[in-house]
């Protein structure tokens, strides 16, 4: 079968089972087709809940340019996000974990901020985090999110110098108009409103 035609037929999101159903072949052959389509650039694989493979098929061979913010966030975070709006960063080098965290803190999306909490575990260079916090003006937000992350998971210790440095940022909301009931002490300390309650963080305990 012509791969372009095949991709047109399968456009959208599929699993191995739906792929087989649409093409009228068995599941084993469908997986072989998925491999061929991926090699030709028509298909991308993602993992859904309980590690089910989800194939995103497009009839265009989209040239891969830049670095997708969501892909990088998913790469480092325990909570995987479905990409609804792609945000591509065109840069010389791949953005570091520190940069992704600093960007996530000012993203104004609940899902992104929640997923970014587990990025604190991947940070080794606190000075670099401070640098990016200054670039994106997200110092206080990062500091507050770090304290929230520490309340429910093991996180590497932030050095005192970085902690002091993060206090110079802007005060206000992380997500406009959303406050927390359970982290008011942290909110007071950093002058930033946390958009989560304890129940929202249960996702990390699963």
């Amino acid at each position: 079968m012509d791969l372009q035609l095949c991709a047109q037929k399968l456009e959208g999101l599929c699993t191995a089972a739906t792929l087989a159903k649409k093409l009228g072949i068995n599941e084993r052959t469908a997986i072989n087709y998925a491999w061929k389509l991926r090699k030709a650039g028509y298909l991308k694989t993602a993992y859904g809940g309980s590690k089910v493979r989800i194939y995103r098929v497009s009839p265009f061979r989209k040239k891969i340019v830049g670095y997708s913010f969501y892909e990088l966030l998913n790469k480092y975070s325990k909570i995987k996000l479905a990409v609804r709006e792609d945000y591509i960063i065109h840069a010389e080098r791949e953005p570091s974990v520190e940069e992704i965290l600093a960007r996530a803190a000012v993203h104004d999306s609940f899902r992104v901020v929640l997923a970014s909490l587990s990025l604190f575990n991947k940070i080794y260079d606190w000075a670099r985090l401070k640098k990016f916090a200054d670039v994106y003006a997200s110092g206080r937000k990062i500091g507050a999110l770090y304290d929230v992350a520490r309340t429910f998971m093991r996180v590497r210790r932030m050095d005192e110098r970085t902690r002091r440095g993060l206090r110079h940022g802007k005060k206000g909301y992380i997500i406009e108009g959303v406050k927390s009931k359970h982290f008011q002490d942290i909110e007071k300390e950093w002058g930033v409103f946390i958009p989560f309650n304890k129940a929202d963080l249960a996702r990390y305990k699963e």
Binding site: E11, S58, P59, F60, R61, K62, K63, V65, G66, R84, E85, D86, Y87, I88, I89, H90
Partner: protein, 261 residues
Amino acid sequence: MINFQEQLEFFKLIGGELKERVVCFVIGGSAMMFYGAKDETKDVDMVFLEEDGLNMMKQALSKMGFDEKKSVVKIFRRYEKARNTPVMMVRGEERFDLFLREIITMKMSETIIDRAKETHEFGNLLIKVVAPEDIFLLKSATEREKDKTDALSLIQKFKLDWRVIIEESLHQTKLGQHLFPVYLFDFLYELKEDLKAEIPANVLGEIRKISEDLLEKRIGRSFCQEQRFLSTPNSAGILAFKKKVRKKTEGKAKRGKKRKR
């Protein structure tokens, strides 16, 4: 002609030149290149929501050796009537068309802004790619033969959501573009007749109905104004229903005279 790689290089250079963050939308051929539906484009069309952004972009392009072209090439229908013509920055064969909020016959509505699901960041330049449905609608506003083939390839390559297209054309009427569905119907009819595009009959029927209603409504309000529109026909289909509208209005006028007698 500018290919995808060159376009990216341009954006990177512009992003480096800009001192503040500028947000803009790409439309037309350059948007199609981002989707992988086209290999090269004649010009890069960008829409800005703020005048400051447009001015900063103009300055950045001037620094890169682009000059502003004063005379405007007639691409769009009703170009002469339009208040908002693009700023054209030209360097050799490369051209950037910069629009402010309006693209001649179409306004950048919130719905178009919401539908843009892809954002590219080039330093200080933030580029949002409009949805395929909106690219199609913008193509319907032009008169170039190449835009018709582009629109045809959009229909063939994308699963266009016709509902979105119809709703946006209606939304444009609320924003002041009163005859947008009429032009859209005209364009779709031409595509179907001349290029054998696969446009569902019910979609065509619905837009035709909307256009007829709109025309009748407008004629009822200011007959003289619409006479100008009726004298610039574009296709057999639209001519036929314009005749129908004319008959109706003439009938109304006769009946009015009889009553007076």
